[in-house]
């Protein structure tokens, strides 16, 4: 009833090819955007912004990037943390070495550094596949860990290897308050998500998916595997690099190479697998699950156990958080191996028939 497409006729190719062909989707999206851009900044507290919403928005962007590579093109990567690091340090170097460098160009240049790095480490994908490629991309991770720890030039000759930025501004507006940081990241996320969505439904996205589904067949029908794979690496690492630069500049503002350790690569991979491989929406769900859930559990468990008069220690909470989190991941993968995005599309299917399932 709520979600019925009856009567929505398309009379032109243009109308049939729009991103959201169903009217309800367009309305829902407009409402979500209105909430994200207007209602949330008015209601959310400083803590909610700085500890949950900003990390969520940035990680959603990174997950989007990883999803293009892993979900759409089928090239499993464990080097996402490295791409984030290259984006962050690249942007940092442009930012401090060129006086008066504005923030957005610095971020984009950082993303381009990550693109170059991604293509370089994407080259093995032309020869190896699947798990072998995952291990090969792990090399990118270790290489970046080594590079940013040992080559002093990248950290502007900082003695400790830790760098920081401040006085961020965009078009003269300072990006200091929690609200401005959130809105800035959100605006970038919307732009990137829109571009990514259009890419994956265009010719290039079809090529990626063809390579993912069966690369030999794709090559036979005239898709160049080299072009398709490397372009997926390039686009993905650009987005991941931008997210890394945002994570460093906006969220942490002072960071060390450990902030982009192999752990973050794993977390990003979990995000796309749990969120849903090959779905733009999945990146958002996955990021929410991985970023927000541990924090919610951490804050909620003491209160919950308090009802039963049990006091849990800090270490106890932390262990319980890991256990519950792990159990939830396993449960999700068994119940819904296609991720949270699939649950969402199932819900949409059900709504189409509601209230008369047949």
């Amino acid at each position: 009833m709520l979600y019925r497409e009856n009567g929505q006729f398309k009379t032109s190719y243009r109308a049939d090819q729009q991103i959201f062909p169903i009217a309800q989707d367009r309305i829902a999206l407009a409402i979500i955007l209105a909430i994200a851009f207007i209602a949330v900044p008015m209601l959310a507290s400083d803590y909610l912004f700085r500890a949950i919403l900003i990390p969520f928005v940035i990680m959603a962007m990174a997950a989007l990037g990883v999803n293009i590579l892993v979900g759409y093109c089928g090239q499993i990567s464990l080097g996402s943390g490295a791409f984030m690091a290259v984006g962050a340090y690249g942007a940092y170097n442009f930012f401090v070495r060129f006086p008066g460098m504005p923030l957005i160009p610095a971020l984009i240049l950082g993303g381009l550094c990550a693109t170059f790095f991604g293509i370089l480490f994407g080259l093995p994908s032309l020869r190896v596949k699947g798990l072998y490629l995952a291990v090969a991309t792990l090399a990118a991770q270790f290489f970046s860990d080594w590079m940013f720890l040992r080559i002093k030039w990248f950290t502007n000759n900082s003695d400790s290897g830790s760098v920081s930025v401040n006085n961020l501004q965009v078009f003269g507006m300072p990006i200091e308050s929690a609200t401005s940081k959130y809105l800035f990241c959100l605006a970038l996320l919307v732009v990137v998500a829109l571009l990514a969505k259009n890419l994956v439904r265009g010719a290039i996205g079809r090529e990626w998916m063809a390579i993912r589904d069966m690369d030999v067949a794709a090559a036979v029908i005239g898709i160049r595997p080299m072009y398709a794979k490397l372009s997926a690496f390039a686009v993905s690492s650009f987005i991941v690099g931008m997210a890394g630069a945002l994570w460093a500049f906006v969220h942490l503002s002072a960071w060390e190479p450990a902030a982009f350790s192999v752990e973050i690569s794993f977390r990003l991979l979990f995000m796309v697998i749990i969120g849903g491989l090959g779905s733009i929406m999945g990146g958002f769900f996955g990021a929410a699950f991985i970023v927000v859930l541990p924090i919610v559990l951490n804050q909620f468990l003491p209160a919950f156990m308090g009802i039963f008069g049990i006091e849990v220690s800090t270490a106890g909470i932390s262990h319980a958080e890991l256990m519950i989190f792990g159990a939830l991941i396993v449960w999700f993968l068994i119940v819904e191996p296609h991720g949270l995005a699939k649950l969402w599309s199932t819900a949409k299917q059900k709504l189409r028939l509601w209230p008369f399932p047949h």
Binding site: S45, D46, Y47, R50, A51, P55, V96, D145, L149, R150, D159, S160, G161, S162, S164, N166, N167, E176, H251, L252, S253, A254, W255, E256, P257, A258, A259, S261, I295, N298, Q299, F300, A303, F304, G306, I307, S313, T314, A315, I317, S318, H319, L322
Partner: protein
Amino acid sequence: MKLSKLVIAAAVIAAGASAVTTSALAQAKEQFFPLLSYRTGPYAPNGVPWANGKQDYIKMINARDGGINGVKLTFEECETGYATDRGVECYERLKSRPGVTLFDPQATGITFALTEKAPVDKIPLMTLGYGLSVAQDGQAFKWNFPFMGSYWTGADILIQHLGKTNGGLDKLKGKKIALVYHDSPFGKEPIPLLQERSKMHGFELQLLPVTAPGVEQKATWLQVRQSRPDYVLLWGWGVMNSTALKEAQATGYPRDKMYGVWWAGAEPDVRDVGDGAKGYNALTLNTSGQQPKVIQDILKHVHGAGQGTGPKDEVGSVLYTRGVIIQMLAVESVRRAQERFGKGKVMTGEQVRWGMENLALDQKKLDALGFSGVMRPLSTSCADHMGSTWARVHTWDGAKWNFSSDWYQADEQILKPMVKAGADKYLADKKMTRRDAADCQS
């Protein structure tokens, strides 16, 4: 099925509601101490006693004195796992609580991230014996307080001690000193000072990084075996320390030629190694043991009442005592701030910052607090946010730590220009200026 789900949902909502109401009721006259800690992860063996000491001291002040001039102390722990992003989350969660006092991030990485945030939120950061070495310059770093020493003072004292054991700093010429360090800002901090000293005295400095968290050190010790340095300085934390000692034992490197920083010289570092750690030296900022009066007070008022955090026999261990000292300095900063801004009132972060900047804990005061012999006197000022650079060396005899040197003080003549230059570079990078005399009064 439906019913059980409803019950769960109701419980969830009730729990959320109760959490909200308790935090709303906590607006009373209380000084709140956010405690960032790590009781899990590779650094937990050292993080746990540290966190226990901090908690027990707060409980003891409440039980023995009824708070600070009548202001009750409250605290909440937040687990960071030593990870920067979780530390930032904890900071954001706890910073807006009523009566928030100061943050002790307990990790160099988190300190770096919070250094950018503290001036905005006007909450001071206490980084006792760690953090940014250049933050000693209070005129550049208004909100950072590396009390009692930084990695530069630590490295300086170690070289002084090596010089003394060799019969003079000039005897170090031609010697080879290796720095085995945790490959992170924490481990890299001492390098500039050691390089400076190596230029002055003509010893060769060999840098041997160990990848975090420090359990993989085979390659490092292979290098030690090859180059046979005269001394090894160990800049480790958590599992890295005991691993290094075991590797030294396996390599056959004499443990009495190894000197750790004060984060590499506590019981968890040597206990598992047993006899293999005999003769190992490390810097220390404080004593250990249960004799000091403050430890006795904690045993009586906190553990005696069954309120203790952690096992009773760990009370008074090296890191536990350091936790107690950290918390004592925090409490005394509040007390000092109350002297100026009104006794019996809850101090804001800004007021506590003034208290931290004007601490004067002479021997008499320390004795009165029950800290006689535990630490050296400390007095801070606007220019000097460290207050004291004293440390001494202690040696593990297989069962306990014994002092093996007198107190040393870091050499001001070397440190001062380095701190000044580092702080100037920081200010220039940030396009900021030094605080003027008027700001020092505030």
